[in-house]
């Protein structure tokens, strides 16, 4: 066989174990096995850990560069674990760090069993995992089930040898007319879900970029291969996966090819592998769908859920922004009222920002127009169907709003997922292409390259932010550590308070309504295993103006609300509605002491 036609030729993985380093006599690609590596020590056993965990999404590339090549890496990230432990983070979510041609931020995976060389290797990953577990921090990573990069040896084999073992790994067709009802997701770059491959002389199916062919899940070999991929990482000690783009695994004529029953069946298979072989690890679904569709990804409520343990609540996030701009609680109240109950063994993941654009798929056309006018005044700020900006600039760097948003993130139902840098109010760079605007290096110090890397500034993977407001000289971790009232210290304190009140993690959510539309007030109510109730009352002023609010706390007559950040006792709840006044964009968290059995009755 010619050297450059080898299926692994494009990977750049010479010298490290990788898929396709050899081919067996019957045409199968040799793949690395977990036994070839050391395994990390396991995190403490607690099957429900994810229900109360604070997650932190961090891009390996963007956090810390340990070897001075201008790109963040696994060893660099490991060196910052003390910081993350101090902040109160329970679980890291790492977007893909696999071998990849990097045409889609690493979501175009060219080898599921190798680390992108710039980030390190499998041993470095095991080291990170071990160090994290030592600090009680778990780690989950993205796994893209739906597709691979076109550089993946599977695809190379599939296009070259239609009759070989990989010939049926992808969705091939003689024409581009099938599944016409499936929408095109990346409308900015793609015009069809089919692309012609001159090598094989057929069209292949792709829901995302044309360089990301969809795997053919109808083929049982593909299902088995993906389950083995899960096992590979779970054996190394990883705590779970964020399953990327799950709604699209199967296709079916006459449907929009999303959320199909067979897709759910396969997820149940994945879950069974986790439950039987790796209890305590989790699956987190990325399904950018309406809550009523997303709950399907938790699986059967009768058994407490038998698909994913967690799913992101996508529609909530834009509505938090909308509610504050409109000074009306209804966008939030409505979406939560429309959110069905979830099985007992599951939890939502909620977030304000992540490495993608602020997506506006799950809003109405009218709401989308509204969000664009309000939050993307410059057309450069838009990307696909969304807004590519970070939290601080979205909120015009207003500290009160950043605190209000974070307080809601930490108290609305679901496990909060912070995005790296938002804890210090990092800015974005809308002059960078696509979603790179929000993926610039973490700002650690006022030193060269913001303390991210020791390299020559010209070599850095993306320029650090240097504008006068968000530039690293003034805005960095070091400066904020030294300032007791910094956003960083405030965020840490709030995470700490959240963890002291399990009601904020697993409590039922009760919207209190109230006659002032600008005030969102809710209770989180949790019955402790000993039967006692932990009730937290959260009151948020979505308006920039001070507001009074009268709350119906009649159920809690006689209790004394205690403010959670300072421990101040507020006036006792009496017969009349409870009156509070809040400063513009202000919020309160109160503990409401245990209620008697007679509740609201006489």
């Amino acid at each position: 066989m010619q050297e450059d036609s080898r299926p692994d030729a494009a990977l750049g993985l010479e010298g490290v174990p990788h898929t396709g380093e050899a081919i067996t006599a019957d045409g199968l690609l040799v793949e690395p096995q977990a036994e070839d590596f050391q395994h990390a020590k396991q995190a403490p056993k607690n099957p429900d850990w994810f229900k109360g965990a604070v997650f932190y999404e961090v891009l390996v590339r963007a956090f810390t560069d340990s070897n001075g090549d201008g790109t963040g890496d696994l060893r660099g990230l490991a060196s910052r674990l003390d910081y993350l432990e101090w902040l109160g983070i329970d679980c890291l979510w790492l977007p893909p760090f696999y071998a990849s041609p990097l045409r889609d931020g690493g979501y175009d995976i060219s080898d599921f069993r190798a680390v992108l060389p710039e980030f390190g290797n499998i041993e470095d990953f095991v080291y990170l995992l071990d160090e994290a577990h030592r600090r009680g921090i778990r780690v989950i990573t993205d796994l893209v089930l739906n597709h691979t990069s076109d550089a993946h040896p599977w695809f190379q084999q599939s296009r070259m040898d239609p009759d070989g073992p990989y010939g049926d790994y992808y969705v091939w067709s003689d024409d581009d007319s099938r599944y016409a009802d499936a929408r095109i997701i990346f409308v900015d770059t793609e015009t069809s879900n089919w692309t012609y491959d001159p090598v094989r002389g057929q069209f292949y199916w792709h829901r995302f970029f044309s360089h990301q062919p969809d795997l053919n899940f109808e083929n049982n070999d593909v299902q088995e291969a993906m389950l083995d991929t899960l096992r590979f990482w779970l054996d190394l000690g990883i705590d779970g996966f964020r399953l990327d783009a799950v709604p699209y695994l199967f296709e079916e004529e006459g449907t929009n090819c999303e959320n199909l029953p067979r897709t759910h069946d396969f997820l149940k298979r994945c879950r069974k592998v986790v439950d039987d072989e790796y209890p305590g690890r989790i699956l987190l679904a990325e399904a950018n769908q309406w809550p009523s569709d997303v709950v399907e990804y938790f699986g059967d409520p009768e058994v407490g859920g038998d698909e994913c343990h967690m799913a992101f609540h996508f529609p909530l996030m834009p509505r938090i922004f909308m509610a504050v701009r409109r000074e009306s609680r209804f966008p939030i109240s409505e979406i939560l009222a429309q959110t069905p109950e979830i099985p007992t063994g599951t939890q939502w993941g909620i977030f304000l920002r992540n490495h993608d654009e602020l997506t506006l798929e799950m809003v109405t056309d009218e709401e989308r127009d509204y969000m664009y006018t309000e939050y993307a005044k410059d057309p450069r700020m838009k990307a696909n169907i969304g807004i590519r900006r970070r939290l601080a600039p979205l909120l015009e760097n207003d500290r009160n709003q950043q605190e209000l948003f974070t307080a809601m993130l930490l108290s609305l139902p679901g496990s909060p997922v912070l995005y790296y840098g938002d804890e210090i109010g990092m800015g974005d760079n809308i002059w960078l292409g696509d979603r790179d605007a929000v993926r610039t290096p973490m700002q650690w110090t006022p030193d060269r390259n913001a303390g991210f890397s020791s390299c020559d500034p010209g070599r850095i993977y993306l320029p650090v932010i240097m504008d006068p407001i968000h530039g690293y000289q003034a805005l960095n971790v070091e400066a904020q550590l030294n300032n007791a009232s910094s956003l960083l210290n405030w965020t840490r304190r709030m995470i700490e308070v959240r963890k002291q009140h399990h009601a904020l993690a697993e409590g039922t959510f009760i919207d209190l309504g109230g006659s002032n539309p600008s005030v969102l007030a809710y209770k989180r109510r949790w019955t402790r295993p000993d039967g006692h109730e932990d009730i937290v009352l959260c009151v948020n002023n979505l308006s920039r103006f001070p507001q009074p609010v009268e709350l119906d706390l009649s159920e809690h007559r006689g209790t004394t609300p205690v403010e959670l950040t300072g421990g101040v006792h507020f006036p006792q709840v009496g017969e009349l509605p409870y009156l509070l006044t809040l400063p513009g964009h202000g919020f309160y968290w109160f503990q409401l002491a245990t209620v008697g059995d007679d509740g609201e009755s006489r």
């Binding site: 409109r326 309504g513 509605p577």
Partner: protein
């Protein structure tokens, strides 16, 4: 403990002084003459709870008012006593009849009993009591003889499955001088509800406070989407009322009578309020035009007193409440069939009020005035569009009936002029400037 009779006697001597101090008392404009007891019902012995109806005579006017009385409190007033009012709910849940007062729940409604009551804190002309976070009971303070439109229309709407109301769940009725009176109506309480006035003024406040020269459609608190949905809700309620209770084509005489009534109101108000004088010819012309240029119109049961304070925003959308009709009008007029355009006009007026309320009593500021006008224009249009989208064929887009709609709106504004002149002279500029603008545009 005093006997019921003694308690009532004692109460009667104090009522002439006490009544005018009550927010719900409708006769504050003239001295209270005599107060006579009409009937007393013992609802509870211990603690004592009495239902008392008194007849209040004021010059040429005689009205019946109801009181809930206890001797547990020096004020005699029992509506603030959560335990005592809770008893009213229990009686409805049990479907009891006490001495001619019937406490009923709607046929297919199951009520939870044993809840404490608490009066609502907002200003109102009746007294409403909330139970738990589930029910609200409205006690009609001034009793009127015959069927009560609030109860009748709510029941009719529930019967056709209308989603834009707070469902009626029970009632308290009785007899007075041989005629039926409605004492109270129990409805589903929506704890998350915010009234439309608060929603709209939140939006106006946001626009007014913006330092940049923003337009209403660019302001963060833009209300147009809400106004549109509100228009849809109102149109749906109209269609549901029509389905439940029917409609009629108004004949020429009806329309002529309606327009005549507008004209005579104008005469009365113009005599009282000199500032209206300059607009009288234009107003009269607008009313005449409504008569000439009319298309056929339908009349039906409508809300009758629709404004932003009579609609509630909940997580499930907009609701209309309080179908009592125009409070000052006599019962027969309130019950009469009317054009749904009257309700539309009422809402349009309310948008004007919401837009201008922050400017009242302030120095003239052309920028803020322009913003207020723009807000009103935008939201009035959005409301009409929403209405048109959901309206029944016979009504359609309210703007199609431009001249009639304008006449209704002007008539309402004339009514407002009289009201503001008597009660809040500072606000007089709101209806007057609207009249100036609407008649100006029409010319």
């Amino acid at each position: 403990m005093t006997e019921p009779q003694e308690l009532v006697e004692k109460l009667l001597t104090e009522l002439p002084g006490w009544l005018p101090a009550q927010r719900w008392f409708a006769g504050k404009d003239r001295p209270v003459g005599s107060v006579r007891p009409l009937r007393t019902t013992v609802l509870l012995e211990e603690p004592r709870l009495l239902h008392v109806v008194v007849e209040v005579e004021q010059a040429d006017r005689v009205e019946a008012y109801q009181l809930l009385v206890t001797d547990r409190d020096e004020s005699y007033e029992a509506t603030g006593d959560g335990e005592l009012t809770g008893h009213l709910l229990d009686l409805m849940a049990q479907g009891r009849e006490i001495d001619g007062l019937s406490f009923e729940h709607e046929p297919d409604a199951e009520l939870t009993d044993g809840l404490r009551g608490r009066p609502i804190t907002s200003e109102q002309s009746n007294t409403s009591i909330i139970f738990g976070s589930q029910y609200i009971l409205k006690l009609f303070r001034k009793l009127s003889y015959g069927p009560n439109p609030d109860l009748v229309l709510h029941r009719a709407l529930r019967g056709v499955g209308c989603e834009h109301i707070a469902q009626p769940l029970g009632s308290i009725t009785g007899e007075l001088n041989g005629e039926q009176v409605t004492i109270g109506m129990l409805q589903q309480f929506l704890p998350d509800a915010v009234d439309g006035w608060a929603m709209a003024t939140t939006s106006v406040r946001d626009l007014m406070a913006d330092s940049e020269a923003l337009h209403a459609d660019q302001a963060g608190g833009d209300f147009a989407a809400e106004a549109n949905r509100l228009g849809q809700a109102v149109a749906t309620v109209h269609a549901d009322l029509e389905r439940a209770l029917g409609q009629q084509d108004a004949d020429d005489d009806d329309i002529a009578a309606t327009v005549r009534a507008m004209g005579s109101r104008l005469d009365r108000v113009a005599e009282m309020v000199p500032a209206l004088g300059p607009f009288v010819p234009a107003l009269r012309e607008a009313f005449d035009k409504a008569l000439d240029g009319r298309s056929t119109i339908v009349v039906q049961n409508i809300h009758g007193d629709l404004h932003l304070g009579q609609v509630l925003r909940t997580v499930n959308g907009w609701l209309l409440i309080d179908f009592e009709g125009e409070p000052a009008a006599p019962a027969a007029e309130r019950a009469a069939l009317k054009s749904p355009l009257r309700d539309v006009a009422g809402m349009l007026r309310s948008f004007d009020y919401a837009a201008h309320q922050m400017l009242v009593g302030q120095d003239e500021d052309p920028l803020l005035t322009e913003r207020a006008l723009e807000w009103a224009r935008r939201n009035r249009a959005a409301f009409c569009e929403g209405y048109a989208d959901a309206a029944a064929e016979a009504v359609g887009d309210p703007r199609r009936h431009g001249e009639l709609l304008r006449a209704f709106e002007l008539d309402k504004a004339v009514y407002e002029v009289a009201y503001e002149y008597a009660n809040r002279p500072e606000w007089l500029t709101v209806p007057l400037s609207s009249i100036a603008r609407i008649t100006g545009e029409g010319a």
